[in-house]
């Protein structure tokens, strides 16, 4: 920084701190960061070899330990090997933005405004906004916003449900009323980047592709600790885990905040999806995961890291927990359904899928044994488990730090720990409350 040469002691220390930060940036940013990253993997490997003996006495836990390490490392490997494809300017399918909204008067205007700002031929865009029985001024906002972008898009349609029918109905309505080839679902509190459209549609050049998930970051990242943690979680979930799934085209969930579907494929099962029943109860939540699941039966779902969007996340803990609970329930349901056909897919994809299912269900058991049963019986800490857990979390945090920069990366570790330890218990609870179809408080 070329500030003035006033050598006050304060200036000197600030300069020093800045230099140190620059230096650490440089070290962590490139080779240095990766050195630490692989250093952690090295430690993890050593640890696995060393704890082999103690684990080989317990086949189940030894297998779990080996599997989870392999699984996580394979996610990084696959994400690395994912091949992004270039935007082909000659391939420009017509697109429809479908945005269902309920009580979203604060954000809907911005969401819709951005549809008008996308980098895409005007005449190939249409917008369908569905007001799902809002009790606030959402409809008014919707009308105002769509009016404002009338000249940036080809066609606008505002659908008004007098009574709340549920998000599925809204999305289905949008799909049915759409006249273009690619439907892009955007949440009413999500904001897409202008370049997102091209990066989403480029994959549809491949006829086997039925759905594309965009990369969604957290809009309100800096609100509080909770939102910061979610920002990290979103980043890793997309950049590592969805990317790994995308290699095989078996992304299991193209999230509703920003995903694109080929309309013709969707129409084949839209009603089935709309009236989906599970355990004798109509499904209301998990619409995006369910839709993706229908799509990947026959087609591929991929991830586009370049199609960026932002979404608003819960900043209140209670709301957040309920959201997570909902997501876990939909995960259980859809995973159960997907298990029925995933074996037909690419063997590696199937292996990844079933491994993840196994790990997700056994993690609470392993956790309980390590943290409750073992200390009670042996009166000592389960060092192996704790160190292994910490190393994995550290690996994720380090990845985030390298990619994103010095932005509370330690929090990444904390957030992962939180999700691993505290929220993993939502899964058993979700199984129990599967039939409860309430959204909770959105």
């Amino acid at each position: 920084m070329n500030t003035s040469r006033t050598q006050t002691s304060q200036g000197f220390f600030a300069h020093l701190r800045m230099s140190l930060r620059d230096a650490s940036e440089r070290i962590m940013g490139d080779a240095g960061g990766w050195f630490f990253f692989f250093g952690i993997i090295y430690i993890i490997l050593i640890f696995k070899v060393v704890s082999y003996e103690s684990l080989s006495n317990h086949v189940f836990f030894g297998f779990y330990s080996l599997l989870i390490t392999t699984y996580i490392l394979s996610r990084f490997l696959l994400a690395y090997l994912r091949k992004p494809i270039r935007v082909d300017l000659r391939y420009e399918p017509t697109i429809t933005f479908v945005v269902p909204a309920k009580d979203e008067e604060d954000n809907i205007a911005e969401t819709i405004r951005r549809f008008g700002a996308v980098e895409y031929p005007r005449e190939k865009i249409e917008v369908i906004a569905i007001n799902d029985g809002s009790t606030d001024g959402t409809l008014v906002e919707m009308q105002k916003a769509t009016e404002a972008i009338r000249h940036s898009v080809r066609r606008i349609e505002v659908v008004d449900f007098k009574e709340n029918r549920g998000k599925r109905q809204g999305m289905a309505e949008g799909v049915k009323r759409a006249r273009h080839d690619v439907v892009i679902f955007v949440d009413s509190d999500s904001f897409i980047e202008p370049s997102a459209v091209r990066h989403l549609v480029k994959y549809f050049a491949d006829p086997s592709v039925g759905a594309v998930s965009g990369h969604t970051d957290v809009w309100n990242r800096d609100t509080n600790l909770l939102t910061q943690m979610q920002a990290i979680r979103y980043y890793i979930a997309f950049k590592v885990y969805k990317a790994a799934e995308s290699v095989f085209g078996t992304v299991t969930c193209c999230p509703g905040c920003c995903s694109a579907y080929r309309r013709s494929y969707v129409m084949a099962f839209v009603d089935e999806w709309l009236h989906q029943k599970f355990l004798g109860v109509e499904c209301t939540y998990g619409d995006d995961r369910s839709l993706t699941n229908f799509m990947i039966r026959k087609y591929r779902a991929v991830y586009s890291a370049e199609a960026k969007a932002h979404t608003v996340v819960p900043d209140v803990f209670g709301k957040y927990v309920r959201q997570q609970q909902r997501w876990k329930k939909s995960w259980i349901r859809e995973t159960f359904i997907a298990s029925g056909f995933m074996w037909k897919k690419n063997p590696l994809a199937a292996l990844s899928f079933y491994s993840y299912v196994f790990l997700a269900f056994t993690s609470p058991v392993v956790f309980f044994r390590a943290m409750v049963w073992y200390p009670t019986v042996h009166e000592s800490w389960p060092i192996v488990y704790l160190i292994g857990l910490f190393l994995m979390l550290f690996l994720h945090g380090l990845f985030y730090r390298i990619q994103v920069g010095a932005r509370a990366w330690f929090l990444a570790i904390v957030s992962f720990w939180f999700h691993t330890v505290i929220l993993m218990w939502q899964l058993p609870w979700a199984i129990v409350s599967l039939r409860d179809t309430r959204w909770g408080t959105r």
Partner: protein, 617 residues
């Protein structure tokens, strides 16, 4: 599949995999080489501990050297005796049994600062044979058991201070695979290659309580007859001897074979820590000594109460003593202990302002306000003390000025250890000269001195010159006996009374001079036991000299009964007080020292272990 299998990416992945695999393989190979079969996490912990220690100490000492300069002076004078220290393992948190790392560092620094330096086993053995002179402040440091925490914790400190040490390895535990307690052979090899360490034998597999009966009661591998399960009986003496000899031989052979160094010293397991032996075979320790002496050059026992703390040259002895460093000692404590044990030079004067090393053997010994208080406790009839660091003295005149209220006041000279010395025993009107060897007490001479009374500021003394010894009172010789065995040894003090807890001496001044430098004090003229006619005196003296020359050693048969109880204060045998009759010449002539020995013969049977060991060959 949307996969990028470009050469570049595959190449990167392969490179990373190879590097990682190589790193992991190298790590384990390195661990095996350096730590042997130690489990990985223990090895990692030790590596961390060791490197942290080395780094910290190097920095600390570099800084210290920078600011304080280093001391390179060699201590003046030659050592009369060498102390040997015993440590086991060093612990980080105090446990009341083992020395802490902090204390060890403090101790080593204190020694270094005071000018002490370590010697090697070879140098020690050479010194003991009388073949070499060592600087006055020389010490040998030993560690027992070959525990990991005896090496990793101490070596960084020893390295920085330029010290060396010896580690006593128990063979079987050192071969335990994946031990986190004992050093593995890879580690011992590394220890030896550092040049700072030597090893000795701590037995092959005798360092644990061993069964002495069918029920599983345990005893000492090297001292008790063990149970033979196959034959359902206790082993015979021959079997004991064979077993012990085999262990001793095999441990030396195994260690020499594995490490390629000469192993010629042996540290007795447990025997030196006072662990209670089962006691079914009193001759056991003797047999062990014999067999050990056949295999090794030197055997270590722990210094006990009544022993000099340092080792003085003794070419024939197999056994040498080690000081067990207490967990409670810090640097100043250890230094004080050693300084008190250092060889003292003649002439010697002790104003008793400070404790120069008066060690209690029994009773209490205290020093305050410039006096030495030697007192019986309520449980004892007497008290005994000796001055550490005087074992090498010979031919001296030793006098003590003391307040004496009751019972006997006794001065000991030629004190070889707490139970072997020559004693001038004074009481109201009487003085005796005795030779004490273990449990046996022999009267060498006796005299009545009516003027000799208890009181304050009484000056008692003992003078040893060549083959004669005299007991002195207030500067006069009251009893002289000639034709005695020449000897050497230090000085001590004792007191005794018939009742418990009564005997007390308050010593105000001690002075010891070479007998050659001080003329023999004159005889007390009122000595009633002197021959009546002056003219006969020389003849009488000559005759008694002949009669008393070459006193016969007391022959002790092989002990078959349980050993004598632990040394209690030597009770004054009842017979003594009545054996003296103001004698005529005839009685003087007929007084046969050997016959007049009375109930000391009750304990004639057994010598204790120390005596055997120190006086063999």
């Amino acid at each position: 599949m949307y996969i990028d299998t470009s050469l570049r990416k595959i190449g990167v992945i392969l490179a990373i995999v190879i590097i990682l695999w190589g790193a992991v393989a190298t790590t384990f190979a390195l661990k095996d080489k350096r730590f042997g079969s130690t489990p990985f996490y223990a090895a990692a912990g030790l590596a961390l501990q060791e490197s942290a220690g080395r780094v910290f100490y190097s920095i600390e000492y570099a800084l210290r050297a920078l600011f304080a300069g280093s001391r390179d002076e060699v201590a003046p004078g030659n050592a009369a005796g060498i102390p040997v220290l015993t440590y086991h393992r060093l612990v980080f948190t105090p446990d009341g049994v083992n020395v802490t790392v902090g204390d060890f560092k403090d101790q080593m620094e204190a020694l270094k600062a005071a000018g002490w330096q370590t010697i090697t086993l070879g140098e020690f053995m050479e010194f003991m044979r009388g073949g070499s002179a060592l600087p006055e402040r020389s010490v040998l440091i030993t560690f027992d058991d070959g525990a990991k925490q005896s090496f990793y914790t101490s070596d960084p400190i020893l390295d920085v201070l330029g010290f060396n040490a010896v580690n006593y390895i128990i063979v079987t535990p050192s071969q335990t695979p994946e031990s986190t307690y004992y050093l593995s052979s890879a580690e011992i090899k590394r220890m030896l290659s550092s040049g700072r360490w030597e090893i000795g034998s701590h037995s092959y597999d005798g360092h644990h309580p061993s069964p002495v009966d069918a029920a599983g009661e345990t005893g000492n591998f090297f001292a008790d007859k063990l149970w033979v399960p196959a034959a359902a009986r206790i082993e015979t003496t021959a079997e004991f001897r064979a077993r012990v000899a085999e262990d001793l031989r095999d441990s030396r052979a195994a260690l020499e074979k594995t490490y390629g160094v000469t192993v010629d010293t042996f540290a007795y397991p447990f025997g030196e820590t006072g662990l209670h032996v089962f006691g079914n075979f009193p001759a056991g320790v003797g047999i062990t000594d014999e067999e050990a002496a056949r295999v090794y050059e030197l055997g270590w026992l722990q210094n006990e109460r009544g022993d000099y703390t340092f080792n003085y040259p003794d070419g024939d002895a197999f056994i040498a003593q080690r000081i067990h460093v207490e967990a409670a000692w810090n640097g100043a404590d250890l230094l004080d202990h050693l300084e008190k044990g250092m060889g003292k030079a003649l002439p010697y004067t002790d104003t008793l302002e400070s404790d120069r090393g008066w060690r209690p053997t029994w009773g209490t010994v205290a020093q305050e306000s410039g006096v030495l208080l030697v007192r019986a406790t309520p449980q004892t009839a007497g008290a005994s003390t000796f001055l550490d660091g005087t074992k090498h003295w010979h031919d001296y005149q030793y006098e003590a000025t003391l307040d004496w209220k009751s019972g006997y006041a006794m001065l000991a000279g030629n004190m070889v250890n707490g139970s072997t010395y020559r004693l001038c025993s004074f009481t109201d009107g009487n003085v005796r000269l005795q030779e004490v060897v273990g449990e046996t007490r022999r009267l060498l001479g006796e005299a009545d001195v009516p003027a000799l009374r208890r009181g304050n500021d009484v000056r008692l003394g003992i003078r040893i010159e060549g083959t004669s010894t005299s007991c002195l009172w207030n500067g006069r010789a009251v009893l002289s006996v000639g034709g005695l065995r020449r000897g050497a040894g230090g000085i001590g003090l004792q007191t005794w009374d018939t009742a418990m807890g009564v005997a007390a001496l308050t010593v105000k001044n001690i002075s010891v001079a070479r007998s050659a430098d001080v003329p023999a004090p004159p005889r007390l003229s009122t000595q009633t036991a002197a021959p009546p006619a002056q003219g006969f005196a020389p003849i009488v003296e000559w005759i008694t000299t002949q009669l008393q020359s070459d006193p016969q050693p007391v022959i002790v048969p092989e002990p078959e009964e349980p050993p004598a109880p632990p040394p209690t204060p030597p009770p004054e045998p009842e017979g003594y007080s009545s054996s003296t009759i103001p004698g005529t010449l005839l009685e003087w002539l007929s007084a046969d020292p050997e016959v007049s020995e009375t109930n000391a013969t009750t304990s004639e049977r057994t010598r204790d272990r120390d005596d055997r060991r120190r006086n063999r060959r």
